[in-house]
Symmetry: C2
Subunit: 260 residues, 2 copies
DNA sequence: ACTGATTTGTGCGTATGTATC
DNA sequence: TGATACATACGCACAAATCAG
């Protein structure tokens, strides 16, 4: 399989002999780790599931075996590969598909891919709406909103970190029902929202803060996908504004153009 | 404006006094640069357009002023902010919206946002299809494809780096017409494709290789948005498979849920 | 069960870059 | 500016696990 033309590539790497004279501010082992992570993510080792030996890889990158080991041990800690003494290094997992459709339901998607979904409630509180949140929910400044933060998992691996804001006036008992472990869709239905649709998603990328990196169990040097979204009810009124951080190492977002 | 809850944050930074015991593999000045870049991108300074003084920032991050200056000078070189002696540091630009619709036409979108589009042809050649490309274009292994690589700009700033593959058999004269400076849409029309639609987009994030970072004029430590896409004609036959790398510092992808 | 080749795991010493004081 | 602490990267040597014959 041919690598994408502009993807990280062995010969993108500093010349094997002379050290780089440009200071990137990123250490050699970190760049090797990212290169390998990218290759694994690009399924370059998908056929056998086995990576080249430490000797081969260190020769390829032109570094000491210790340096290479530091890189792969970071990837191992991150759950991206598995090392077996005397045998070799093996790919651990592939990318999870996360569809961004008008009707996005998390658990269904995972189950369809044969994965066990999990969700952890991190925060649930009432607060005055920040300017951005008020604008997205079409509220007046000073209105209260309900903030719900969750960590979603698939097979025990963190997938995303979601912050959702709901208009407090409209959804009075939401926080209490969440505390009792009810599903979001079900709660909204009980509060009079029979159905809701995703109106818009804005997708950006960023590096995780320490907190996000820790919760998503991902290297702080590996990027996240960030999705800002607005869900509306059937009358078009905003129901929820959300900011979701996806682990870029584990997830790819899918946009299917629906048949009109 | 309140920052997103999990976005990079001053106190996500290593404690001001004790050095961090976790090895991130990224130097302090680089992390400060990335933190500031993220904040600028998150519009934290959008109201005044002015950043805090060097003294304030170095105090906030708990580093020497020299270290901070190295960070901001990197951002300046990258075109993200502008330093004026005796006045301060100012935000240079904001995010560009890039819609991912069924019918995506680059120039139109930019002009609607009041920007001047530009496109540079980097590569145009015929090659045997890699496994992945053949699968996406529904070709037999060994078939030839036409590879077209371009660099798109808005107001002179690089926006994306696109690789596109077309079935060689179907689109014979494509490379020649491209050499004459014709538009892609127009060429396809001349070759019998009256219209084409985006069937699917897969969105991931990755760090740029050296080549990509250079072409997109972006730090190698700042992430990219990567979009894999398949365009089909009105009969549903694949016309183009593309891999596009967007500068994560300059672009956000927009997914509008179309009314059915 | 043994041998040799391959692969990962570990220890030590040294030099250099980074950041602080 | 110089001194100090620490992380990074290199080189060499050897131990431990695995596998093919």
């Amino acid at each position: 399989m041919t690598p994408p033309t502009f993807a990280p590539h062995p010969f993108d790497f500093p010349a094997p002999v002379a050290p780089p004279h440009v200071r990137s501010g990123v250490t050699v082992w970190r760049r090797i780790a990212d290169t390998l992570a990218g290759e694994i993510r690009d399924r370059r080792y998908a056929d056998t599931g086995k990576l080249p030996s430490e000797a081969e890889l260190s020769a390829r990158f032109g570094v000491n075996r210790h340096t290479l080991r530091q890189a792969v041990s970071a990837l191992q800690a991150q759950g991206m590969l598995r090392i077996e003494q005397g045998r070799g290094m093996f790919v651990q997992h592939e990318l999870l598909n996360y569809p961004l459709a008008r009707r996005t339901r998390f658990s269904e998607n995972l189950q369809r891919q044969g994965l066990l979904p999990g969700k952890q409630l991190l925060t649930a509180r009432c607060e005055p709406a920040a300017e951005r949140v008020a604008r997205e929910l079409e509220l007046a400044g000073g209105d209260d909103v309900l903030l719900v933060e969750t960590l979603s998992e698939a097979n025990g691996q963190p997938v995303n970190l979601a912050s959702a804001w709901y208009p407090a006036e409209r959804f009075g008992g939401l926080l209490e029902m969440l505390g009792e472990g009810a599903q979001t869709t079900e709660i909204l239905a009980r509060l009079g929202v029979r159905d809701y649709l995703r109106r818009e998603s804005r997708i950006t990328t960023q590096l995780p803060g320490e907190e996000a990196a820790r919760l998503l169990r991902q290297s702080a040097a590996r990027p996240l996908l960030c999705v800002e979204s607005v869900d509306v009810d059937l009358e078009g009124r905003p129901v929820k504004y959300g900011e979701t951080l996806f682990s870029g190492d584990r997830v790819q977002l899918l946009v299917r153009s629906e048949d009109a």
